[in-house]
């Protein structure tokens, strides 16, 4: 009888913790592991070494309004071609900005979209090849690295002055 009560109590507590945790991760912030080298050296600087197990960076993803995204923020978004995957890239242009590609094309970012680019521009699939990303697909802004311990710290979003491979002209 007491075992049953104990189990029921435990289940109740787990359920409470679960729903509160899910609500927090949906509305405020969540954790995520970053795989792949498309954002190195900002995230995963050594992921091309072959001992690839404990080297993934875990990052804190903060949810925010669509107006609060700025150029040079590192963002998480759902991949437009595979909706179950999420990608991490840096915003290079917001609506109204025009972007000079290395192929001498100029792209003006239309309403409700953004131009994203990986920090490791040599091996990164981003807006240069697959097109602009609708802002509705953005899931949050990467603000901190929380694992591994020697790399705990803020992701330098506004300090990095040059974006790789493209030139951006702001709208104003």
């Amino acid at each position: 009888m007491s075992t049953q009560n104990f189990l029921l109590d435990l289940a109740k507590k787990c359920f409470t913790a679960g729903i509160i945790g899910l609500a927090i991760s949906d509305n405020i912030a969540s954790f995520m592991a970053v795989r792949g080298s498309s954002m190195s050296p900002t995230l995963n600087p050594h992921s091309n070494s072959s001992t690839g197990f404990a080297l993934d960076d875990y990052v804190l993803v903060q949810k925010q309004n669509f107006e609060d995204y700025k150029v040079r923020d590192v963002v998480v978004f759902r991949s437009p071609s595979k909706y179950k995957e999420k990608n991490v890239r840096r915003i290079a242009g917001l609506p109204g900005d025009s972007i000079n590609l290395p192929s001498h094309d100029t792209v003006t970012v239309p309403h409700g979209h953004c131009f994203v680019i990986g920090d490791n521009s040599a091996c990164s699939l981003d807006s240069r090849s697959s097109g602009l990303i609708p802002l509705g697909l953005l899931c949050g802004c990467v603000t901190h690295i929380i694992w591994p311990p020697q790399r705990i710290g803020e992701v330098n979003s506004r300090t990095n002055t040059t974006l790789p491979a493209v030139q951006v002209h702001a709208s104003e």
């Binding site: 991949s79 437009p80 071609s81 909706y83 309403h111 609708p134």
Partner: protein, 179 residues
């Protein structure tokens, strides 16, 4: 002198009493706030993952949904499981303005070739297009007044927020939506 002694004797007792009182108050506060948090989390969960009511208006879905505004129930589970297909009425976050949502019907999924009238009001020129991977083709039921994939292009699947399945307002039209 004598009174001071009594005071020093009483002080620890009083503090203990205070501590006990505060402990019970704190316990009560914590249990109440947990109940609150539970309530709001449950509400968020129902809204985000099971179903939520949505007000839709506008001419683009005319024979199916009224112009003046209907309240429909939108079920959030099937887009997460990948179970929306052609014929479903879906709620989509607008690619032009992420603050807005639009309600349209899915016409084709990835790999389909869609043939559509470019400008049905003035000419009968038609065009066809292959829907790329991970995208859907959405169109309003009223093709003469609808801003949909014919202008916006294929929509990424990730922008689908939910599948409309039931109308709750106005009451005389209550019931499941026509497919």
């Amino acid at each position: 002198m004598n009174g001071g002694d009594i005071e020093t004797m009483r002080a620890p007792k009083l503090m203990l009493q205070y501590a006990l009182r505060w402990k019970s108050t704190a316990k009560e506060v914590i249990s109440h706030s947990i109940v609150f948090a539970q309530f709001f989390s449950l509400m968020h969960l129902t809204n985000a993952y099971i179903c939520s009511p949505t007000l839709v208006y506008g001419p683009s879905m005319l024979p199916t949904l009224n112009f003046t505004g209907d309240v429909i129930l939108v079920e959030k589970l099937s887009p997460l499981l990948g179970k929306v297909g052609p014929g479903d009425v879906v709620l989509v976050r607008s690619p032009e303005n992420p603050r807005k949502t639009i309600t349209k019907r899915i016409v084709g999924v990835e790999g389909d070739t869609i043939t559509f009238l470019v400008d049905p009001g003035s000419s009968d020129r038609s065009d066809s297009m292959l829907v790329p991977k991970g995208h859907v083709w959405i169109q309003g039921d009223n093709i003469y007044a609808s801003n949909d994939s014919r202008q916006l292009g294929p929509i990424p699947y990730g922008l689908i927020l939910g599948k409309a399945f039931c109308r709750v307002w106005p009451p005389e039209d209550f019931g499941p939506l026509r497919q």
